[in-house]
Symmetry: C2
Subunit: 231 residues, 2 copies
């Protein structure tokens, strides 16, 4: 699976959050990172050809007045022609995935009915979901990063892990998908360690693998019980 | 009541719809019409001072990928500073009205759950409603103009009347408000007619005025009946 992260951020060079996320994915070979640069107009053909190369397209931006900054909108307005997008006209994005990484200055709990903003993120992101719908793309659950500056080191570490999964794990939104992806990632890191550390990591990986198998067995039994209930 | 129509339209000079709407309001003294011109950045102070002069602010734009074109977003990003908007920080827009005139290339019925777009206009316009909420403004019901090119002359005439009301009638969303506003408008036109036509129009206006009074009496009786039911 190949992923493109399109970053639309007018203050990219000054953003700690953007720098952290950039660093978090820099070693992922199947992920490309493209920062939108101010321009009078984007080259429609070049950008369309780029988009076609990827399976997962991520729009990453800070929330500016409840949607993407103008530069991201300019990109969408100029690059997404109707014939390129509309699945009813054999558009070229069909079957791909569209994800949204949105950074927020306010806590996530503000974004709900009755919360300070009185509107949910899901509601605010409807225009992007509508693009995915038009294009016959799968719209992924969004990936919000709220108040990065106030996060504890542990929370940042968790963010790093989750973010890498959102970009590169084809099955990031199930527990089983996360589990097998972590094991793959550990196998990759293992090859870079000293022999002594390798054998330590092997023990941890065996333990995780064993857990995964136990969980599979439990799920299988559970499925059997549910099936009997239905009969 | 003073109204500002802010037009964000990358193809303004070629748009029949924009030209029609421009013409429809040109004689309304209390309405100002401002077309956003491409610029590397808007002058924040000048634009903020302009906004403060109006009671009703209308954002008018063609729907581009389910939201305003990039130029309108650039205006919002650059002109609406947090201190200027946020009602909790004594923002300057409190109590004003925010309206949206949105032109659509597809029929309005596409914009509903189960429709072709599978999303409603109200959902798509949530980001603008959220700005109004943040600013302590009243968010008006939106004014969609769908498929202008296919409208009959009668439909265009109705559009013209409704659009003028949306811009200039402080009470456009009740029947009574529409009625009294039409009478005001007719009184204004009357002064420009020949004496003979004036007396003809007077007869029509008396008839309308009479109808309005009858309706008031009926409403009054209805209110009385409802009140008795409650007791």
């Amino acid at each position: 699976m190949k992923t493109l992260v399109l970053v639309g951020h007018p203050e990219y060079d000054n953003s700690q959050t953007a720098a952290f996320l950039r660093q978090a994915q820099v070693d992922l070979n199947m992920v490309d990172w493209q920062v939108l640069q101010p321009t009078s107009s984007f080259d429609t053909m070049t950008e369309q050809q780029r988009l076609m190369k990827y399976d997962r397209i991520i729009l990453q931006f800070p929330m500016y007045w409840y949607s993407a900054p103008a530069i991201m909108k300019q990109y969408l307005d100029e690059v997404l022609t109707v014939n390129f997008v509309d699945v009813r006209r054999d558009g070229c994005l069909r079957g791909k995935e569209l994800g949204i990484v949105v950074t927020l200055g306010d806590p996530l709990k503000d974004y709900q009915s009755g919360g300070r903003e009185d509107v949910s993120l899901s509601e605010l992101l409807k225009p992007y979901q509508a693009i995915a719908h038009k294009a016959g793309m799968r719209f992924l659950p969004s990936f919000p990063v709220a108040q990065f500056a106030y996060m504890t080191p542990q929370a940042k570490q968790q963010l790093l892990i989750d973010y890498r999964g959102y970009l590169a794990n084809s099955n990031f939104d199930t527990f089983k998908g996360q589990q097998s992806w972590y094991l793959q990632q550990l196998a990759y890191f293992k090859s870079q360690l000293s022999p002594e550390k390798q054998s330590q990591l092997s023990i941890i990986m065996d333990y995780l693998d064993n857990n995964a198998q136990q969980l599979d067995e439990l799920n299988w039994e559970l499925a059997l019980i549910k099936k009997e209930e239905d009969e």
